[in-house]
Symmetry: C2
């Protein structure tokens, strides 16, 4: 293993006494991000003002950072660009894919997808009109549902609740055989598992950066388009920074040459500065090592919880190859248990109706963290102190 | 005048020796933003991790900041929300407005609009299909072009090149008489001139925060919908944070009660932290004072330049009431002149083909700045040192 995880852990700022198993929701702060953001705010924005767009290279950040993320997902250079939010990128990819299959009208997805992806597809279908359809099936029924009327298969590879992982290589091949395109949501894949968008012949891929990629709250999303397709895509969200000459201020839109046409408006520079600091860590990491270590950590957690906490039922696939980088357990009182766990400094999260969710992120999670989390969970369940009123209050959970 | 502009100026970090007349493009750094962003990065993201969404109130920032911006544009409380970029907000407003006028097919705009607004409208029209049309006329021809086939009138109040200002009150009334809705782009209005979206019976308004509102590079946009219309709007970009119960993770989209339905994905928290610091300044300011002072500064600049630099031709309306908060001059060698001016520490910007653009922002621009800018401009034109090769190189201009 060439990646030194003790070294990467030292590059994160983790609060004393906290075991953080929610990096699949919001990654922690890379130590260098504090200084990088400070420099962006004070030296660049404060010191260079408008000239920083060129002098500090802000204008090119969405492409430069896109290439660094691209390495982690097996993308060709110049095929990934940053911007907006994941929901917007889903809309862009879907609209583009539908336009490339003008004779077809169906988006196929599954009920394990992020609700937001389904909502965005629903909004697009409504905008396009009555002849379009969003068809959702159970995750295990997707393969058989790829029929010749499908224009686009839209899937999130890793289920955000259970960690169940689709076999994207097989599904992409099946979709292509049926003449469909694929929009692949990598929100729980990028930085979590090995992804090979070029090698699997993916069409479109989108993802966010604030989970496993540690860009901070509200960091921008990314989008990949296969270079063979990008020149054919005419963006639905045709903003000025996707224009081939944004600063010519022409009245007519002409898309830029490649993936840049997926840029829309002015990108969030402070958020990208934080992401730069995170990518300095990711540049040192091999995804094969991350995956191997993630499986070790996840397996140790499953073994520990099943031995110590028999009332928790595994909600994730037992086969590591069928899982992403998270492990979920079910319990009817899952919400209260998670609140009690967080109160003891072990941060996971809860997803309705009954799922306790734990993310394993080798860059900063150790085997000692896993053992301590099991002990804490066992302590709560044994003493039933999760049953106290203070833990049962319903509150917003993010 | 109740606003103390000497006090507000002291709250900005302006580089020594720089006269900044480009706050209409990127506002300068509020001193407190450095600390506010630091606290957001280190104490909230670093210290609270995922729990900061509730503990630090991140989840409500788009609405809380929306209301503070709302005061500056005459909006009702609860009618403005932050998020995404201006181009995305234009798309949302346009798509919503078209859907409220299902029998009509035409978006009317003008050739003085931001190209990006026209590009977004073009993308939407293409997505909706052949029966829709984006019709553009010259700015002075807009009023007569408001015919009964217009579904939506989409205008940027202040022309980004010349500062020419539309009479929105009259145009809104005319549009309503013709049964059309209005999407009003406030990019060069919010924080620049007095705006009264409620009092003018506006339907939709959108704007960005990184210009006059000083939120920093890539700060989020905002959107206003008249409370009488918001409940009828079904969002085209229907993301999870616009859902009435985002954390229920339902498979079906149900828009939230009011303006929150215009939220899409996870908002950029670091950018909003910077905006919070800026709004602490704006909260102390009356827009009537800003407008009065802006006119004084602009008039002094026009008088000074016309007296000292006869080769520069005023491109902005001479009547202050017909102008926004910027003044533009034309010169065939405008690009080289602006580069020479920037090299002397007076930062304005250039817009093709021949426009030198200067923004007047009373929060931090003084009459001394105006005089010094005139002297610098005169010095360059008198000595013709703008004619040197180094200033004539074509480069990216933002």
């Amino acid at each position: 293993m060439s990646t030194d995880f003790a070294a990467t852990r030292a590059l994160f700022s983790l609060p004393e006494g906290v075991i953080y198993l929610d990096g699949n929701s919001l990654g922690p702060l890379p130590r260098a991000a504090a200084e990088r953001v400070r420099a962006c705010v004070e030296d660049e924005w404060g010191g260079m003002l408008i000239t920083a767009w060129n002098q500090a290279g802000w204008i090119d950040l969405p492409r430069r950072l896109g290439d660094r993320i691209g390495r982690l997902i097996g993308a060709e250079p110049g095929a990934v660009v940053l911007g907006d939010t994941l929901s917007i990128k889903v809309y862009q990819a879907l609209a583009s894919a539908l336009e490339l299959r003008p004779e077809r009208r169906v988006i196929l997805s599954d009920t394990g997808n992020f609700p937001s992806d389904l909502y965005m597809a629903d909004g697009l279908v409504r905008t396009l009109g009555d002849s379009y359809e969003l068809r959702t099936v159970a995750p295990e029924a997707v393969e058989d549902a790829i029929t010749p009327d499908i224009a686009v298969l839209m899937l999130t590879e890793v289920d955000y609740r259970t960690g169940r992982k689709h076999d994207m290589r097989r599904l992409i091949a099946k979709a292509h055989d049926a003449g469909a395109l694929v929009v692949w949501d990598l929100a729980h894949s990028a930085g979590a598992i090995e992804v090979d968008v070029a090698g699997t012949d993916a069409d479109f891929a989108v993802g966010c950066t604030y989970k496993y990629l540690n860009s901070g709250p509200g960091g921008p999303a990314f989008i990949y388009i296969a270079p063979r397709l990008a020149p054919q895509v005419r963006p639905a969200l045709s903003g000025w920074l996707g224009h081939e000459a944004p600063f010519a201020f022409d009245l007519d839109y002409r898309p830029s040459a490649g993936i840049d046409r997926m840029r829309v408006g002015t990108p969030p520079v402070l958020q990208m500065a934080a992401l730069e600091a995170s990518m300095d860590i990711w540049d040192r990491v091999e995804m094969a090592d991350v995956r191997a270590r993630s499986i070790e950590l996840s397996q140790a957690f499953i073994d520990g919880v099943e031995a110590a906490c028999p009332t928790l039922k595994l909600a994730s696939p037992r086969d590591a190859e069928a899982r992403g980088s998270q492990v979920s357990f079910r319990h009817p009182e899952g919400y209260a248990i998670m609140q009690a766990l967080i109160a003891r400094g072990v941060i996971g999260d809860f997803r309705a109706p009954d799922i306790l969710r734990f993310g394993f992120t080798p860059l900063y999670t150790t085997m000692e963290d896993v053992r301590a989390a099991v002990v804490a969970l066992n302590g709560i369940l044994e003493r039933a102190d999760w049953d106290r009123e203070e833990y049962k209050t319903r509150a917003k959970v993010t």
